[in-house]
């Protein structure tokens, strides 16, 4: 997706303006600064930082919030139930140390899912959010084979009680979309909101391309890691304390 000069100026202007006005609060304002008819821009890259040391085993606030937000609450057999975010428990083989963390689509910069998708239904938006266009997904499930993080679910049965703003459908593949509908309104993903309200405040969200954003500052000054960094996918979701 290319942006034309006017859009570039508009976004650039927004960056400058918000940088001048309210350092630190930028990510939300930037999202708002982009009016709906403007193209998404690659000046931004939405990302998430997970501090696993703050994520506790009993808590699943993020999962509950995601299911509610995206209408995933149907009572479906576990092995075929779509799970956009899940809590994973890790136990060190040698020391027995246990930790837990949320796993979801890592919003890879070089997404293998999009590379293999025959129709281009899986794609990465200019701002880094990886999405499935449910209207051209043919349900071949190749993306599920290709995703290194097991981030995707296939809708195995007819769905009822869907939310109007979250199109879903039997026979297509879906995954975490970073609550794109919220982000486009200048809000943060439901899981992040819930974790900060009811959980351990382990999740942070923001524009990692904006050096002044909280998340970019933390990424620049603190240790963080990608899962399966060996694959070199430059994920938008990163973890601390692994």
């Amino acid at each position: 997706m290319s942006i034309d000069r006017r859009q570039f100026l508009a976004v650039g202007g927004a960056v400058v303006a918000s940088a001048a006005l309210a350092p630190g609060m930028r990510l939300i304002e930037l999202a708002q600064a982009r009016s709906p008819d403007q193209a998404v821009s690659n000046l931004q890259r939405w990302g998430m930082l997970v501090d696993t040391t703050r994520c506790s085993e009993g808590c699943s606030a993020c999962v509950t919030a995601c299911n509610k937000e995206n209408g995933l609450e149907q009572d479906i057999r576990l092995d075929i139930r779509p799970q956009w975010i899940r809590k994973v428990t890790l136990r060190d083989e040698n020391t027995g140390y246990v930790q837990t963390l949320p796993m979801m689509c890592q919003h890879c910069e070089e997404p293998p899912c999009a590379d293999v998708c025959p129709t281009g239904a899986s794609f990465r938006r200019a701002d880094g959010i990886v999405l499935v266009d449910r209207h051209i997904c043919i349900g071949c499930r190749y993306c599920m084979m290709a995703c290194p993080y097991k981030a995707r679910s296939f809708v195995h049965e007819n769905l009822t009680d869907q939310r109007a703003e979250i199109p879903r459908g039997k026979g297509t593949v879906e995954a975490c979309n970073l609550c794109v509908h919220r982000v486009d309104e200048g809000r943060i993903p439901a899981c992040v909101e819930a974790c900060n309200a009811d959980g351990g405040k382990a999740l942070a969200f923001g524009d990692i391309n904006d050096p002044a954003s909280d998340i970019a500052k933390r990424l620049a000054t603190q240790q963080s890691a990608e899962i399966r960094a060996d694959l070199d996918l430059n994920t938008g979701v990163r973890y601390q304390g692994l």
Partner: protein, 411 residues
């Protein structure tokens, strides 16, 4: 030498119609199964979010790989100038087309949205090997159809060789493309190997030839046409070579995996403690599909019995099926390695072996695809001259080989 007398089969006996009807019923059952799966959704199959490709993919890959392999017989004649194989070229091309169509039907009917096939045919992501394969597959059908036309139409016979060469190159590319579908899945240990694509090619040689031998033997015995011992002997010896090569590739694949420490646990899974996958590997793939056929095909006495040759070819196909099952299902069942050195658990089956039990509709769909391929071939040999009236040794002329003879035959 004599020119080959290709002739349509009569196809008016009760047996012929019964056979077609039998295939037809299987096709209908397959279609019904597909309809059932699509209307209900894949929850009525054994597939789930862990094993996303199930039995239909096993059948489809089996058919597609065999399709490109079965063309090998024709290539040997047209490209490598072995005159002995010339009478077999047409059937080889025909089976290549029908098997491929059968496989593609299964693949398409297993999509989550088969009604969107038109989307798949019109919107392409050229980075995707899947999208490339759509061209490779449709192109293969066209190329082989042209090749058949050059062979059947007397005026066009001079172009048989270039057309055959094109078809040969195309089929190698096609199998490489099919193998690469898995080769691109770098995150999964089973498929993280450069050997996969060449292994698929050699698998296709063996599976395709086994199908060819069985089909030829059945067709000639059912129509009462003569089939010589010499031609069968050549075919079965060639099958033996291919089967041995598959075994060799499998060995190298697992040895290289064992060499890479990161893949030890996966190797342990397939070779030692993978339950059904380990059993399918050792008993199905290696013993039934490899060692037994080799013993039969090269045994000084058994290797001469027609029944035994047919049995050997059938066993190769049983092994083929097991092998593809282990590659596709076993490869998915083994969990993704996300956190080395950690024992992982979650509600999403992280860190556990994926569970899969093939369901009846999936199997019915797959069998329907095989039946469709065979039905098309069996119908085609009635309306067009695909089969030589005789494959008796004297008619096939086993003593002349080489390009010269091929050219003579073309003239």
């Amino acid at each position: 030498m004599k020119s080959i007398d290709f002739r349509e089969i009569e196809g008016r006996s009760l047996g012929y119609y019964a056979l077609l009807a039998f295939f037809g019923v299987l096709v209908l059952i397959g279609l019904a199964a597909a309809y059932y799966m699509e209307t209900n959704g894949h929850h009525v199959t054994g597939m789930n979010n862990q094993i996303v490709w199930g039995m239909p993919h096993v059948f489809a890959v089996f058919l597609i790989v065999s399709a490109s392999g079965v063309l090998n017989v024709a290539s040997i004649a047209s490209v490598f100038g072995r005159v002995m194989y010339k009478p077999l070229t047409r059937l080889s091309g025909l089976l290549a087309i029908t098997l491929l169509i059968g496989g593609l039907c299964v693949l398409v009917l297993d999509l989550g949205k088969p009604d969107r096939l038109i989307v798949a045919m019109t919107i392409y992501n050229f980075k995707s090997i899947f999208a490339w394969n759509i061209f490779l597959y449709t192109g293969f059908i066209a190329v082989v159809a042209i090749y058949l036309w050059m062979m059947i139409e007397r005026r066009m016979n001079v172009y048989t060789r270039p057309a055959g060469l094109l078809a040969f190159i195309w089929r190698l590319t096609l199998t490489t493309g099919t193998g690469s579908i898995f080769g691109f899945l770098i995150a999964r240990q089973a498929y993280d190997s450069a050997l996969l694509a060449p292994m698929f090619i050699i698998m296709s040689f063996a599976f395709g030839l086994a199908i060819f031998i069985l089909y030829t033997m059945s067709a000639y015995s059912l129509t009462g046409r003569p089939l010589g011992d010499e031609i069968l002997r050549r075919l079965k010896n060639l099958l033996g070579v291919f089967v041995a090569s598959v075994l060799y590739f499998v060995l190298v694949y697992h040895l290289t995996n064992l060499y890479m420490t990161a893949h030890h646990d996966f190797e342990k899974f397939i070779l030692l403690d993978g339950g059904v996958y380990t059993a399918l590997f050792w008993i199905g793939q290696v013993l039934i599909g490899g060692v037994l056929p080799l013993v039969i095909l090269y045994h000084p006495r058994l290797g001469h019995s027609r029944r035994m040759i047919a049995l050997g070819a059938a066993l190769v196909l049983v092994g083929a099926f097991c092998q593809i099952y282990v590659i596709i299902i076993g490869g998915q069942a083994f969990p993704l390695l996300l956190f080395p050195g950690k024992v992982v658990s979650s509600s999403f089956f992280d860190g556990v072996i994926g569970q899969y039990r093939p369901s009846l509709p999936e199997i019915a769909l797959g069998i329907g695809g095989v039946a469709f391929a065979l039905a098309m071939a069996t119908f085609a040999i009635k309306i067009l001259p695909f089969l030589p009236a005789s494959l008796a040794d004297a008619d096939v002329d086993p003593h002349q080989t080489g390009t010269k003879a091929t050219e003579a035959a073309h003239a």
